[in-house]
């Protein structure tokens, strides 16, 4: 294991952690609303940009970060209430177009509010690189990876240990049956959007010190998160995490050893090959055709 390898793996895991958080958002919303939310990347953008704004107001990071995540959750709730709920029950393609409309709306709004410039958050705990077996790692990478681990663990506890989390799982398995059991699935849908926004915004504030943030970052991150969710298997939480980390690793290793210009090509070719042999993703449910 040379330093170069470790270096690329560290970079890959950092990027992969964000993809995993975005992919989790895709899967949560897909499970409860049966929709692919192409506005998922915009939650990352809203989180990062509001973080920048709160810090610019003079708030310390420890206050700015939770506020930024809360702001994104409010945006998520508004999106669900104003755009998704009225369109729900329509064709899947119609819903996809609605979420694309939401994505454009949020990006346009961000351009008006924050301008088109590129912004950065200060690093959470200094910028002095840590030497780790010959690889240099910025402390913020550890924040990204650590933050993602904590978020995933808490999410797992929420879904498996709380009544509300179980109600969300029930809705994902069978919406009608869940409704018959007295679960208000409309509330579940709203909460799933808030949760997806929370995860995206968390990714946004954690990475803003490294990769910087602007009103335009949502599109590509959304696509990568979608690809990661599909690679792992749409709707599977474990799959979303594995898919995200794997996508980050493929990209980083591809960029490091093959070609940085073609890192996305390498990643997408790998995904297509995997899906060709495992058409429902790495850990997706295997199912036959339904008549």
């Amino acid at each position: 294991m040379s330093g170069a390898w470790l270096q690329f793996v560290a970079a890959g895991l950092t990027a992969g952690a964000i993809y995993a958080l975005i992919a989790l958002g895709f899967s949560i919303i897909y499970n409860t609303c049966h929709a692919i939310n192409f506005a998922q990347g915009e939650f990352v953008m809203v989180g990062g940009m509001s973080g920048v704004s709160f810090v610019a107001m003079g708030l310390p990071l420890i206050v700015a970060v939770p506020l930024a995540v809360a702001a994104a959750m409010i945006v998520g709730l508004l999106v669900e209430r104003l755009a998704i709920e009225p369109a729900h029950g329509n064709d899947v393609v119609t819903l996809i177009i609605v979420t694309i409309g939401v994505s454009l709306f949020l990006r346009g709004l961000a351009q008006v509010v924050w301008g088109k410039g590129i912004h950065a958050l200060p690093a959470f705990s200094g910028t002095e690189a840590i030497n780790f077996f010959g690889a240099t790692i910025v402390p913020q990478s550890l924040w990204v990876i650590g933050g993602t681990v904590v978020a995933v663990v808490l999410l797992g506890l929420f879904f498996n240990r709380t009544l509300f989390g179980k109600a969300m799982q029930a809705t994902a398995q069978n919406t009608l049956a869940a409704r018959l059991m007295g679960i208000d699935t409309r509330v579940i849908m709203r909460v799933s959007f808030a949760l997806a926004a929370l995860l995206g915004a968390l990714g946004g504030v954690l990475t803003a010190p490294i990769t910087l943030t602007s009103a335009e970052i949502g599109i590509m991150l959304g696509l990568k998160g979608f690809a990661a969710a599909m690679l792992g298997g749409l709707g599977s939480f474990g799959g979303a995490v594995i898919g995200g980390l794997l996508l980050g690793l493929i990209e980083a290793l591809g960029a490091g050893f093959l070609s940085s210009a073609y890192k996305d090509v390498i990643a997408f070719v790998m995904i297509l090959v995997v899906l060709f042999f495992l058409p429902t993703g790495l850990v997706g449910a295997r199912s036959g055709d339904r008549v």
Binding site: A87, D91, V92, V93, F105, V112, L234, V265, V291
Partner: protein
Amino acid sequence: MATGSDSTRSKRPTSVGLPSAQGGAVPAKRAGAGASRAGRTKALALLAALLVVMPFLFPNSYFFEVAVLVLMNAVVCLGLNLLIGYAGQISLGHAAFFALGGYGSAILAANYGWPTWLSLPVTVAAIGVLAAIVGKPTLRFKGHYLAMATLGLGVIVNLVLTNEDRLTGGPDGMGVPPLVIAGFTFAGEKLWYGIAAVVLWASVWLATNLIDSPVGRALRAVHGSEVAGETVGIVIERWKLAVFVISAVLAALSGALMAHYSGFITPSKSGFLHSVELVIMVVFGGMASIWGAIVGAAILTLLPQLLTVFKDYETMVFGGVLIATMIFFPRGIVPTLARLWTRRSGSES
């Protein structure tokens, strides 16, 4: 149409082969043009009349420029609508075929000295072959996975066009020689309006014929329920692939013509956003409707021109319009209006 509004909706849940909460589907009577042979002839005549009369209403050459854009987008949307609306297969990567059409013809002409009257048809044919090769494994994917696969192909094409700067000029794009046939150079908005109008009319003629043919019936069966279609002996793969190739060829043709017309092409033409724009045109106008494809292309080509008055708020307003339209016209503009129209005329008589 036993249950009124419900049955028209029930043909849609399985569209694009996506999993849906709603259950089984009935291939219901479709809306739009070409329901019968007489209706088809009437629709084609009406379209021809519109295409001929329109230019007399254009006050200046700017209108011709926009009209060429509308007609060329409509050609792509017609093909894409066959794929999405009739065959029920989504593609989030069709801009790749559009851009490859333009780049292929441009590279053959500019870098290898081919005459443009040859480079254009050769490119379009080659993309047809390419679509057949790529389509075969890709169309095995279903639902959101097909969306992912086509999206991935689009991203790959986009990045290759951006990075191979020796051939393609890189992110800044490349100049495209004008179309020359038998020594005559095709130039000027008015002439290109004529070309675009003829190409669109021919595409509509092709599409309506296809829809009313046994192939079209097979496709509608597949759209209703793939498994049911298979049980009555329809070889689904073949027809899905055929429509995929047709839609790719129409996109490539439109892309090549646009490149020669505008004299310039950039990799953004192959980007995810352009692919999405094309799908939006189809869904906005109305899936499984020939007129829907044309109306969708027209509105979404004109809308950004109109929205420039909003300046900084342009993207925001565009997003808002998209959301509102999909909430109030979930089936697309043309089918929704057509239904309102038939309901009103039905109650009056």
